[in-house]
Symmetry: C2
Subunit: 277 residues, 2 copies
């Protein structure tokens, strides 16, 4: 697969082995979708990255320059996924913050081909055994400490499952390994809180900006009672869930309306015909 990478705005594919991103997972990332030279959700990515820098005491990066770099590396591709990683940079031995931090910025772009069938018919998901620990100081951030997600994703290899749902230590469903979770109960759209664990996704924020959403905990069995269930991701958009264990759903009207909103933002559903080429 073609991948274009830059490090600190210069073409390059390596970072120092003493980078605190490598030694401590000390940093943040964003994964953005670029369609025809635009990043429709950029303001939300930018806001989350900025908040993450404040909370981790990282110097705020040059956001406009990052945006330009995302576009530069994805130039010429109709649809692309670009990962932006910002670490605290090279450090001496020990956890203490460097006195003069020089963060490292890695931007990595690849062409994106989304799964048309997943968007149309929905995906099957499973419930992970790996639970997420409650850490309010890090909750919501898309930081580089992702071993919980690695362990959860390692629980299955069957490609029939597109995602795994993760619970907090009390057994409430919070999100998928790389997506947020929404459920429709009658007139109400619900998403779990991410103030103790989980990532506050930019797609989740977009959904919450365009319609009323109740933020509420739910158990897996309560989720089974939902009328519609879908996942949200900045890259994959609105993904209907069609199966969790024995429970099955068909994509419902709330899911379809949000998919239409996504298209109106400039983040189209995958084109089925094109997908078959």
């Amino acid at each position: 697969m073609t991948t274009r990478v830059s490090v600190d705005f210069r073409d390059g594919v390596v970072v120092s082995a003493a980078d605190r991103g490598f030694t401590y997972g000390d940093g943040l990332f964003e994964t953005v979708r670029v369609v025809a030279g635009r990043v429709p959700l950029w303001p939300r990515h930018r806001a989350r990255l900025g908040e993450g820098c404040q909370r981790l005491r990282l110097p705020a990066p040059a956001m406009d320059a990052i945006h330009d770099e995302v576009l530069r590396l994805s130039a010429g591709w109709d649809d692309a996924v670009v990962r932006v990683t910002l670490s605290r940079g090279v450090g001496e031995r020990g956890y203490a913050l460097p006195q003069h931090p020089r963060p490292t910025l890695v931007v990595s772009a690849s062409p994106l081909t989304l799964d048309a069938q997943a968007a149309e018919q929905g995906v099957a998901v499973r419930l992970c055994d790996t639970r997420m620990a409650a850490q309010p100081l890090l909750a919501g951030l898309k930081h580089l400490n992702r071993l919980e997600q690695v362990l959860a994703r390692a629980e299955w290899t069957d490609p029939a499952f597109a995602e795994g749902l993760m619970c907090d230590s009390d057994g409430h469903v919070v999100c998928a390994t790389a997506a947020n979770l929404f459920a429709v109960f009658g007139d109400e759209l619900v998403t779990p809180p991410v103030d103790q664990c989980g990532v506050a996704g930019v797609a989740r924020a977009e959904v919450m900006a365009v319609q009323p959403v109740a933020v509420r905990r739910m158990s897996p069995s309560q989720l089974g009672d939902a009328d519609e269930v879908f996942l949200t991701s900045a890259v994959r958009g609105i993904l209907p869930v069609r199966a969790l264990d024995a429970r099955t759903w068909r994509p419902g009207p709330v899911t379809r309306a949000l998919q239409a909103h996504w298209s109106s933002l400039g983040l189209p559903l995958p084109n089925r015909a094109k997908d078959r080429d």
Copy 2:
């Protein structure tokens, strides 16, 4: 400061920006002390690294080759600290484990000069506000997800404090940011459990191998009632705690006996006269 670094057993100072150590903190590390060409605690480092690989589903590395590399990079130094980092290596986008993982090994060696006064008279420590989340799947491991320690260590810059004690989410003291904690109450030596959070230090394991230790939770105020308090670290050895808030201690007989044991292992206390050179 002189540092010698190798990556995958070859002299080098960089890793791929797509290394999962950098993108997810997906890996483990050991920090070992080498004295006169020997790593007295190597069997314990080796055991912990091996257990960590099993728990994170990393292929077991060539332990003897790592040991040789530690010695090669620290050759010629009387006292050295060597960090061994093992990540899952380069991965595609996404949390799923690579089908054919090729872990990355970074070995980084520096000369070590320990603080003689700290070992003799003890260190002052503070209580950190940053608490550690309970995650039994990762507890005990020296993995690369260390943002909690980074946040805790960022709470103070006053060099009067050598370490910060960290509590779990229930407010029990567990360890320091980069050391384990022991307390003496009468005839009993106590250390907190590390089955929910914290690192199972190799120096902690050595202490527990040479004398009876009760593994028990304690609150900061209970810790204040201790007769002796000390920290343990593979690099810094047995460090008496002489002050926590208003409470002060003098190094006691249990602490001194363990320091003598450390010297007998081939891990001498820093030489005060030499330190003043």
